[in-house]
Amino acid sequence: MTESAVKQFVNRNWQRLIVAVPYLWLLVFFLAPFAIILKISVADPVIAQPPFTPAFDETGRLQATWDNFTFLLTDKLYAITYLKSVTMAASATVLCLLIGFPMAYGIARASAGVRNLLLLLIILPFWISFLLRVYAWMGLMNNYGVINNFLIWLGVIDQPMQLMYRDFAIYVGLVYSYLPFMILPLYATLERMDLDLVDAAMDLGASPSVAFFDVTWPLARPGVVAGCLLVFIPAIGEYVIPYLLGGPEALLIGRVLFDEFFVNRDWPLASAVAIVLLLLLVVPIVLLQRSQARDTELAS
C-alpha cells in the first residue's frame, strides 16, 4: 500500500510540496550560479583547470581581490563598451517606439476581425527562430544582397552601398528583432483606452496634436514604459546581432563577455563583466517588475 502512503503524504503536505519543488530547482540552478559568478569575479586568473584561484588557499585564508573590478572601471575600452551598449540599446528602443506606436495604435483601432489577424502577424515572427530572422537580414543587406541589387536595378545607385558590418546594420537587427516586444504592451494599453476621451478633447477644440500629447500619450504611458523596458533590457546584452551584422569594431558588452570567456579564457574577468552588466540592469529590471505588477493588478 505504498501508493496510498504517497497519496497521504501529498495530501497532507501539498502546499509545502508545490512550493518546495520549484523553489529547490531555482535555488540550485538560478541562485547558486550567481553566488558562483560573484565568487569567481573576485578570484585571480591562473593557468589551470578551472582557470581561477580557489576562494581559500591551502592555509585556509580567504583570497579575494577587487583587481577585476578596478581593471574594468579604469580600462578605457570597457568604459567605452558599456557606454556604447547602453546608447545603442537606448537608440534602438526609441526607434522601436517611433515605429511601434503608430502600428499599435492602428491595430488597436482596427475592427475586431482585422485586429486579431494583425496581432497574429505581430506575434508570428516571435515564434520563428531569432537567429534565422537575423540571418534573413544578412541576405538583404549584403553588398550583393537584395537591397543593393534592387537599388542598382532602379538606377538610384551604381555601386553597391556598404550596409552590413556597420552600426546601421546592428540598429536594423535590433529594431527588427525587438519590435514585437514594443508593440504588444503598447497595443494592450491603447486597446483599453477610452476613445471617447480623444473625441471629447477634439470636440472641445483641441487640435489633433494637442489631443495626442494631452490625452493619448499620458494614457498610453504604462504601455510605453513596459515596451521600452522590454526592448532595452535584452538589447543591452545582445550577442548574436552585433556578431552577425556588426563589424569587428562593434564592441558591445555581450560579445566582449563571450570573447573574454571563450577566447581569452579569463573567467574571473568575464564574471566581473557579467556583474557590472547586471548592476547596470538592476534599475530597469526593478522598474519593469513594478510596471508588470501594476498591470496584473489592473487586469484582475
Binding site: 520549484p22 569567481i40 515572427p125 537584395v146 547586471l278 540592469l281 529590471i285 496584473t296 487586469a299
Partner: protein, 270 residues
C-alpha cells in the same frame, strides 16, 4: 482620427513590410539554383535535397528536438507548480525571494544566464563529479530553468483570472487536495499549461547563446550548427533550412490560432 488615419495606415504598411520582406526573401532565394546565394540562377529545389542528405543538420535537429521536448515538459511541470504556489499559497517563508527568482529569468541577459550556469556545472563537476560531460543534460537543465519562468507567468495569470469557488466547493465537499488538483484545477488551467509548453518548446529550439555556453564538445544543437555556418556568410542550404522553419512555424501558429479562435473565450495574450 480621420486625419491621422492615412499616417497610421502607412505606418502599418511599412511596419508589416519591414517584418515580412526579409522572411519572404529568404524563402524566395531558397529556390535559387545558383551557389551564390543572392545571384538568381534559375528555379531549383536542390538545396532542400542536399539538406536531407546532410547528417550534421539532421543530428543537430534531432538533438534540438529532444532537448526541446524534455525541457518544455519539465518546465511545464515546474512552472505550473510555481504558478500554483504563487497564487494559491499566499504565505510561506521566502515568498519574495521565490517570486523574484521566478520572474528574473525573463529579463536576464542570455550571456549572464549562460555564463552562470556553465560555472555552476563546472563547480559541480569538481565537487561531485556530475555532470561528467556537458551536452544533452546540461542544455536541458539550462532551458528548463529559464523557460519555467514563462510557464509560471502564463499559468499564474490564468489562475488569477480563474474563479476559485469551484476548488473551494470541492474542498468543502471533502475532496482531498490531490483529487481537487487533478479533477478540478488542472482541467481548468490546462490551456495555459499547453500554451506554456509550446512557448517553452519554441524558446528551447530558438536558443543559441545559453546552449553555446553550457554544451560540451561534440554536442551541437541546430541553432549552434546554423550559427557556425552563417558566421561565414549567406549560403543557399541555410536558406532552405530557414524556409522550412518559417513555413513549419507559420503553419503551426496559424493552426493554433484557428483552433483557439473557435474555442471558449480566453484571453488572447499568452
Amino acid at each position: 482620427m480621420k486625419r491621422r488615419s492615412a499616417f497610421v495606415l502607412s505606418a502599418l504598411a511599412f511596419g508589416y513590410a519591414f517584418l515580412y520582406v526579409p522572411l519572404a526573401s529568404v524563402i524566395f532565394y531558397s529556390f535559387n539554383d545558383s551557389r551564390l546565394a543572392t545571384v538568381w540562377g534559375g528555379f531549383s529545389t536542390r538545396w532542400y535535397g542536399e539538406l536531407w542528405g546532410n547528417d550534421q543538420v539532421l543530428d543537430a535537429a534531432f538533438l534540438s528536438l529532444r532537448i526541446a521536448v524534455t525541457s518544455a515538459t519539465l518546465a511545464t511541470v515546474l512552472g505550473t507548480l510555481a504558478g500554483l504556489a504563487l497564487v494559491r499559497v499566499t504565505r510561506f517563508r521566502g515568498r519574495t525571494l521565490f517570486s523574484a527568482m521566478i520572474t528574473s529569468p525573463l529579463v536576464m541577459p542570455e550571456v549572464i544566464t549562460g555564463l552562470s550556469l556553465l560555472l555552476l556545472f563546472v563547480s559541480l563537476q569538481q565537487l561531485v563529479g556530475w555532470p561528467a560531460q556537458r551536452g544533452f543534460s546540461t542544455i536541458t537543465i539550462a532551458h528548463t530553468t529559464f523557460s519555467m519562468a514563462y510557464v509560471a507567468v502564463v499559468v499564474r495569470s490564468r489562475l488569477a483570472a480563474m474563479d476559485q469557488s469551484l476548488e473551494e466547493a470541492a474542498m468543502d465537499l471533502g475532496g482531498r487536495p490531490l483529487r481537487v488538483l487533478v479533477d478540478i484545477t488542472l482541467p481548468l488551467i490546462y490551456p495555459a499549461m499547453l500554451a506554456g509548453w509550446l512557448l517553452a518548446f519554441t524558446l528551447s529550439l530558438d536558443d543559441l547563446v545559453i546552449a553555446s555556453f553550457v554544451s560540451g564538445p561534440g554536442s551541437n544543437t541546430l541553432p549552434m550548427y546554423i550559427f557556425s555556418k552563417v558566421k561565414l556568410g549567406v549560403t543557399p542550404d541555410i536558406n532552405a533550412l530557414a524556409s522550412l522553419v518559417i513555413l513549419f512555424v507559420s503553419a503551426g501558429v496559424l493552426l493554433a490560432w484557428l483552433v483557439t479562435r473557435r474555442g471558449p473565450g480566453q484571453p488572447g495574450r499568452t
